[in-house]
Symmetry: C2
């Protein structure tokens, strides 16, 4: 934020403006305008003594100088427009950004203080453990994650058989399909049926399985493409593509070719790598930068604490106080609670974004020497809804593009249909990850995702530039807490009202 | 806010970043990087069809094209940094300003709704009348304003006698001094002693007299300077300065020379003109622009209504609810109320600024064909406290510079002393305009103005650029409601607690 040239720049702008803005209409006032222009900026400068024009020695006689001074005093007005008049052509409102920041900080300091005065300190880091565990001797989510290794090894085994020709392509495809179908259904059934599974634990287990599902789907696809290339007639061409020749690389490490990649080590590197798209030879960074690693680790720990503290201190009281208006369907009070929830929810989402996409994924990548750190692009500047969805979550976007959208296009579907299919898939997984852990099928998350399609059409059609950007921000800030409030309301009605009756 | 080139610009920035950010460390992945770079931006573009590279016909054979496509699919990672890593060199956070604006709008919408739900509608435009009038048959403030004409005419009479030589310079000076001393003390005594005078009426009457005081002081000074010039030995030189020769003006209207300006018409033009600095020949605009005049008139009416409505609906409930914490001197609750008051108070100050310095002064200037519309400069960008005080109120700043600061410098005082004297004078008038109408001498306004000196030193010494700008905003947003709360508390304790006991 700080720039030491700011003052100079501002003065230059002002000087330029002054030059442009002075249009004498009916005649200028008495006295030379140039000298009065500099003279009226000397006052108050005080300790800094920026403008020393008054002290400058002149060669004029003392009397003449005195007369000039008197005439300067006599005429002090010039014909000019106010800065805020459109006629002035002035448009330097740089200070407005600082004004926004100061006002946001002050408003939130006020909310913080009000919250503390009303509720006292509610932060309790130990309480977090209870979100994952109901019964300290039963770890269903952990067990599910351990079990997931089975799916990984089945996929690897299938690919090995396929590469040796022991499985036909069809058999391999069927085994993969069954493996992946079980990978999505088995944990869902466990989460729904095991009573000691908490919603947060269930979300964690299902999230791990969803990520694995996407990774193994990519693994299957890429190995299939490699086989297609190597069984192609143009043997020479294929070889140079599926495994680049050594002169392409300046480094020493040799590159892996198709069947050579089917190792447990390679498989687990991919499983832990911060990407969903499999590749035989990932770009690698040369060494682990310890400073970078420790900064990311510190951020991870700090933001975890912040997220927990903000949830306990800020979100939960608002959600609890919204139950009454939601039950009564009191619309104006519901809107007030929604707006009240929107700010902390949005700040937490931003923290979560930074925590996950910057700190955690970069930490993992640095640890694994994984070279491609593009986990997000500049979604904060997005002027269309599609730009936002294309840029905020690059691993998922890349997967959708490579393994879903482009294959659909290649099969002859139109762009519109393929795009809608991507949103449909995304909506399915959103619903899967929310409904199953909560044991509630309400379709709010699904509807929320699918509502992005008409929203994208509307914003793309009617809003441009900064208005589009503001509309995207608005949809992020308002849309999320709306969906959350819906789920919370239904969860509350299901669990607590039942108890009360 | 809207710019249709936004998308193009963003794309250019992104492209530039991509070019700069791709530094392969250990070797690139399989497949030509250029084509994968464009290909991974085609998805989701949907209805807009911005990027048609996939449809472009190629001259390669179908088989080669297919092989290339497959190899594109195989390698989809590149060595690159995350945008938020300092190593990426990325710094386009244009969307952040929109984020701030959206968040401010939403927070204030929330406050608005909460306020309506809690208090209902409190706006009552008729109630405003009671601020000016206690007794509908007694108009003390109006009478005072009518009486002020006496001071104007005394000043004009004195100057006429001085120009004719009927008064000696000393006698004229004494008459002016007595006239101006009465101008400040007589209304103050009336406001203090007449019981039907309301605080708002008193403020209005004293404000009018203060403005007149500054104007007549300038009138006296300028006429004195003109006499000094015309009685100077260099008759020719003086003439060309105190009354410019005709060839300087392209327009037709003749310019007034020294004794010719001492007319009732010229005096009253100056009294109503939106400036505090007298000049013999003000720059004039050529005609009255009706559209401009009507826009300013509409703004004046609109912002008057807004200011009244916001005060009744937003300020008064907060001030009333702050009385209890203020009485108990409960510090954390006082801070919370102060921050709660800061936002509406600041918004109202901004509205007042626009209403007075842009709408009202421009309206008056347009009506009087007054050419110099520089009533404020770009104080919103100020990075030092002195810059703010030099630029937010140009009429007063110009007067202080011409009739107080520069004369002090000419008499040999140092810059620091003269600057402090200006702040002292300003502090005196602030206190005069607040204490007398409220009939309470507490020195909060005086202290507030004088506190600007150490604040200016601190900000100038330690903060630069945007930090300085943020500090200035902070002092404006927090300082004002603090002083207001102090006065309101004392006023409340004096009037309402007395009644309660």
């Amino acid at each position: 934020m700080s720039d030491s040239n700011g003052t100079l720049r501002r003065r230059a702008t002002l000087a330029a403006f002054r030059g442009a803005g002075l249009r004498p209409e009916n005649g200028s006032s008495a006295g030379p305008p140039a000298s009065s222009g500099t003279a009226d900026r000397t006052a108050h400068d005080g300790p800094k003594k920026r403008d020393l024009s008054l002290e400058r020695p002149t060669k004029k006689s003392e009397k003449k100088k005195r007369n000039n001074e008197v005439s300067d005093r006599l005429g002090c007005h010039k014909t000019r427009e106010s800065l805020l008049s459109s006629a002035s052509g002035y448009n330097n409102y740089r200070g407005v950004l600082n004004w926004c920041v100061v006002l946001l900080v002050l408003s939130n300091a006020r909310l913080f203080l009000e919250n503390l005065l009303r509720y006292g300190i509610l932060v309790d880091p130990i309480q977090v453990v209870s979100l994952f565990l109901n019964d300290p001797y039963s770890w269903p989510a952990g067990c599910l994650v351990i079990v997931s290794n089975v799916f990984i090894l089945v996929a690897l085994y299938t690919e090995r058989q396929l590469s040796k020709g022991s499985f036909s392509e069809l058999a391999g495809f069927l085994v993969h399909c069954i493996n992946m179908a079980i990978m999505l259904t088995f944990p869902a059934i466990v989460v729904l049926l095991v009573p000691s599974m908490t919603p947060v634990g269930g979300l964690f287990a299902l999230g791990v399985h969803t990520i694995l599902f996407l990774k193994l789907y990519s693994y299957k696809d890429v190995n299939l493409w490699c086989r297609e290339l190597s069984t192609a007639k143009a043997k020479k061409l294929a070889r140079s593509l599926s495994c680049p020749s050594p002169q392409h690389f300046n480094g020493g490490s040799s590159k892996v070719c198709y069947p050579g990649n089917l190792t447990v080590r390679d498989m687990y590197y991919f499983v832990f790598a911060p990407t969903l798209c499999y590749e035989l030879n990932f770009p690698r960074s040369s060494k682990i930068r310890m400073g970078f690693l420790l900064r990311r680790l510190f951020e991870m720990l700090f933001f975890t604490q912040m997220l927990v503290a903000l949830t306990q201190q800020w979100m939960i009281p608002i959600i609890q106080s919204s139950m009454k208006p939601l039950e009564d369907m009191d619309l104006s009070r519901m809107a007030e609670r929604l707006l009240r929830l929107a700010v902390p929810n949005h700040l937490m989402w931003l923290m979560f974004f930074y925590w996950f996409f910057h700190s955690s994924l970069n930490f993992t990548a640095e640890l694994l020497c994984f070279g491609d750190r593009q986990f997000y692009r500049d979604w904060w500047n997005s002027e269309t809804v599609t730009y936002f969805w294309q840029n905020w979550n690059i691993p998922v976007h890349k997967w959708c593009l490579r393994h879903f959208y482009k294959p659909l296009l290649r099969r002859g579907f139109s762009k519109i249909v393929s795009q809608s299919a991507v949103f449909f898939l995304s909506a399915f997984f959103h619903e899967y990850l929310v409904s199953v852990p909560l044991r509630m099928f309400r379709l709010w998350a699904f509807t929320g995702m699918m509502a992005q399609l008409p929203l994208a059409w509307f914003v793309g059609q009617f809003l441009r530039g900064n208005y589009g950007n503001a509309a995207v921000w608005m949809s992020i800030i308002i849309g999320q807490p709306f969906a959350i409030l819906m789920y919370v309301h239904d969860y509350y009605v299901m669990h607590y009202r039942k108890e009360a009756n």
